[in-house]
């Protein structure tokens, strides 16, 4: 349990609740098909969320100093994999499934543990080609396979 995170989270949830309440006001009031318009439910929930986050904020002030829990150590590995996953998402359509998946897997495997290039290449290749052919040829699904020239 981290005090800082809970504080940050309670303020974020408070803002989210506020956003929903404010934005609900701009939903048109038409109550077609119902006496209650489409804005009531989100407004009420937004208010409840605001109240709950205020309560959480109060609770955080009561925490005894429980800081200093073990922090994760592998930030670098995680960041590399996360960023390459984001790039993978971005290039999936233009570059095509097979190549982007192959490269993503290769980077991720090597980030997890260096070395053993041959087996990582084989596994990454088998997965990306295998899934693509199984899905698009055998099951008749549609995936952007290769870059279009």
């Amino acid at each position: 349990m981290s005090k800082t995170f809970d504080r940050f989270a309670s303020i974020t949830f408070l803002l989210v609740g506020l956003l929903f309440v404010i934005e609900s006001r701009s939903i048109s009031q038409s109550a077609y098909g119902s006496t209650v318009g489409p804005n009531i439910f989100p407004t009420a929930l937004g208010i409840i969320l605001i109240l709950l986050s205020i309560r959480l904020l109060f609770e955080t002030t009561k925490y005894k100093g429980q800081e200093g829990t073990k922090e994760p150590v592998q930030y670098v590995k995680f960041l590399i994999i996360f960023v390459s996953a984001a790039i993978y998402a971005a290039v999936l359509e233009p570059v095509g499934y097979v190549i982007s998946t192959f490269i993503f897997l290769l980077i991720a495997f090597q980030t997890m543990e260096r070395g053993k290039w041959i087996s990582t290449i084989i596994i990454a290749g088998a997965f990306s080609f295998g899934i693509y052919y199984f899905f698009s040829e055998f099951l008749g699904g549609s995936l952007p396979g290769f870059p279009e020239f």
């Binding site: 048109s28 006496t35 959480l56 008749g140």
Partner: protein, 508 residues
Amino acid sequence: MGTLDFLLNGFAVAFQWQNILFAFVGVVIGTAVGVLPGIGPMSGVALLIPITSTLTSGMPVEAAAASSIILLAGVYYGAMYGGSTTSILLNTPGESSSVVTTLDGYQMARQGRAGAALSIAAIGSFFAGIVSLIGLVLLAEPLSRVALKFGPAEYFALMLLGLCAVSGLAGKSMTKTLIMTVSGLLLATIGIDGVSGIARFTYDLPILYSGLEFLTIAVGLFALGEVFKTILERDKESGAIAKIDRIVPTKQDLKDSAVPIVRGSLLGFFIGVLPGAGATLASFFSYIAEKKFSKHPEKFGKGAIEGVAGPESANNAASGGALIPLLTLGIPGSGTTAILMGALIMYNVQPGPLLFNDHPEVAWGLIASMFIGNLMLLVLNMPLVKVFAKIIQTPKKYLLPIIVAISFFGVYAVQYTTFDLYLLLACGLLGYLLAKNDYPLAPLVLALVLGPMIENNMRRALTISNGDFSIFLTRPLSLTFIIIALAWLLIPLLMKFKGRTVVVNEED
């Protein structure tokens, strides 16, 4: 047609060759999911939804829904079998419902009785599976007939009860749990409002008109969240696996565990039927009960076979029992059943009292396939337990990136948008951060699935009453549900206030 005819028709569906295959694939993957620590039944089921939906894409809608729910439910109860394997052999539970199995199971393994523990767990799970099925068959019709009389006010109150039950038991902090529930309900309002047809919170982005896709959020929060956690906090490599010598339990073992299996099955089934209390609580209570009933409570924790037989039967029975509120009332009682419900809705099959009338093929096919699936699990688990135990040695460096790739493939294959891939990554990050700080994820997913239905029923009830909110309190059934819902939230609070420890349900 009586229940028996429906059941026979269900068997006709379940015995179609593709459905036998689907049940088989489901239980095998489920066992693997149960064995692998890190992937629980929830992420396992969520990850398989896109794959089943492509596998069934050529079939008629009803048959496709039946086949895919057969596979997904197989993953769910298969995971209950698999979870015990690692608890016994490695002292690391594959998922939370097998935590108590480590207490006596691992001790048994250290005494060289691993085989007996594993086979008793499998036999107990099988028996429990059959018990919960009989319960399902007996209760399904009457319950759905009662539920057919419900009006929108009753439905609203009942769904509120479901949400409160899950929230009341879900996490360490009630505030955090409620925040997650309300956030889920709010996320569910994004998109075109089903009643008035007005777009809400879409900011003219066409991608938001259909709302945030439940599947993307579930896969992101559970599967990716878990992957990110394992990458960041790489735990120590697991220890040596205990050796399995003889698999067949001795007569004494069977005698000792017969009663705990029956007791665990019944207890687990009833706990499973209750919303909010899932397989984890069931196994936990069963262990306490066995210890109380035992003539030698001192043996517990030192390799008592009752301590394996009871809880393992209970968690399997609970997973069957949890299907009852889902199928008959349309109210999922746990995270995994919420995901199953989302899968059914994707096929335009609405779980609830009408399910048994409108889609008997789906409902009874599923029930019948669970008979077959449980039998397969017993047959698979007895001789192949050594093979399954090997799955745990899959190197994480290959497993984790492949889970990411499967999530990407699954989400893209169903949604065809890059937006959903970004949403998936964001949910993965959020899932990791929230779970790490004790914000339970299951209530959010449950609220996301139930949100539109709660809102529609509320507004329909209010239309009937001309905007008078007292309709929820003047109708006796709806009032009862609301009182129970409040009690579910208040009693744990009161108990905490009095300084009692409250058992919380881990995600399952």
